[in-house]
Symmetry: C2
Subunit: 221 residues, 2 copies
């Protein structure tokens, strides 16, 4: 009798593409970061501001993932950066095969850094390697400070946590969010995680994130 | 040669449980509503306020779904309502089999209405029928007004859209959210969707939602 492990087979197909993506990126010494968060935490706004403010420092391209629409790729292209939109149809995460096609559509040779903006979902994207150098998880203040405890997988697997929309801590919005609780809970899951509290709207806290990006790109070359 | 459709087989196992759940609920004339949204849109806060403010009108029980922790069930129990926590481990949605176990752990006979609070995820839970009477999608103001266009599936399949955190439209928070755009985009996908703009924090708009709940329960009996 044969036992066929289907879960394993599917994962392996993804892993094959992920390995090939990481090989291409390493060979060309390009940094690739996979942004993961709930819908609406501000991934696109973070990217648009980062690209604009680092335009003299880093050449950045973006692979955008969404179930439908190219709203996000359009926002990125408005900054002047190259952006590829991948519509997943109904799928809840990007696959390494999709990233493989995205990478071949971007002018990789002319870039320092490729961001992948994954489908808005705090669960599924964390389980699929894309060949990236690191995962970046974004948690925004109005989502609440219990999220590392409730969705531990992605916080355990990310190199960086961006706590976004910190402007809401001081503008009178009705939010319950203890930054120190989030930091402590995230570090319980992942003691080396880098944490940057930022507001992509006001720019507060963004310079520390930019420094980390520049250092990470320079460490590759 | 045999062709085995695995996707279909998995769906059918879920559908069998979903059908049985809906049969039990219909037989006992209990309303069951499946709340779906991104993490942090305010599902638990909506439920806690709804239970407290309707305590003289409706007997409500809750099945809570999360990857980890029983934080949400504890918040519901603090209102005095019975709540069952289901930890999915890593799974991105509740299954009908889990709801079957949840329903048998709740004192169904003494309830009018069972809420299912699904795992925070705007994608996966929309594809799994649980035997509920209706899906309720929650979208909160800080998530942005492009979400019906970007995540159409759940808006197309829901009977009600709760637009939560409308207090943020007026408290000086830096949010870009056009309520009319959301209504128009949701109705393009689903012309009969009921839309209630609410703030579960301040209570604004909640009475219209309560009236809909009471009418829905009364229409069953």
């Amino acid at each position: 009798m044969y036992k066929v492990s289907i879960g394993k087979k599917i994962l392996s197909a993804n892993e094959k593409y992920a390995f090939e993506n990481s090989r291409i990126l390493a060979e060309q010494k390009k940094l690739c970061l996979n942004l993961i968060s709930s819908p609406g935490s501000g991934k696109t706004t973070i990217l648009a501001r980062t690209i604009s403010e680092l335009k003299h420092d880093l050449r950045i391209g973006v692979i955008e993932g969404d179930l439908r629409t190219d709203i996000d790729a359009e926002k990125i292209r408005a900054t002047g950066a190259p952006a590829i939109q991948i519509e997943t149809g109904g799928a809840c995460h990007l696959s390494a095969a999709q990233i493989s096609r995205g990478l071949s559509s971007l002018p990789i040779k002319d870039l320092d850094l490729v961001f992948i903006e994954n489908v808005g979902n705090l669960v599924c994207p964390s389980a699929f390697e894309l060949g990236e150098n690191a995962k970046i998880v974004v948690l925004s203040v109005p989502e609440g400070d219990d999220k590392p405890a409730k969705y531990p997988g992605i916080f355990a697997r990310s190199k960086v946590l961006l706590i976004n929309k910190i402007d809401m801590l001081t503008t009178g919005a009705l939010v319950d969010f203890d930054v120190e609780r989030v930091k402590a809970d995230a570090r319980k899951l992942n003691q080396n995680i880098m944490i940057f509290p930022v507001s992509a709207k006001t720019g507060e806290g963004m310079p520390a994130w930019y420094d980390w990006l520049k250092d990470s790109v320079h460490n590759l070359s």
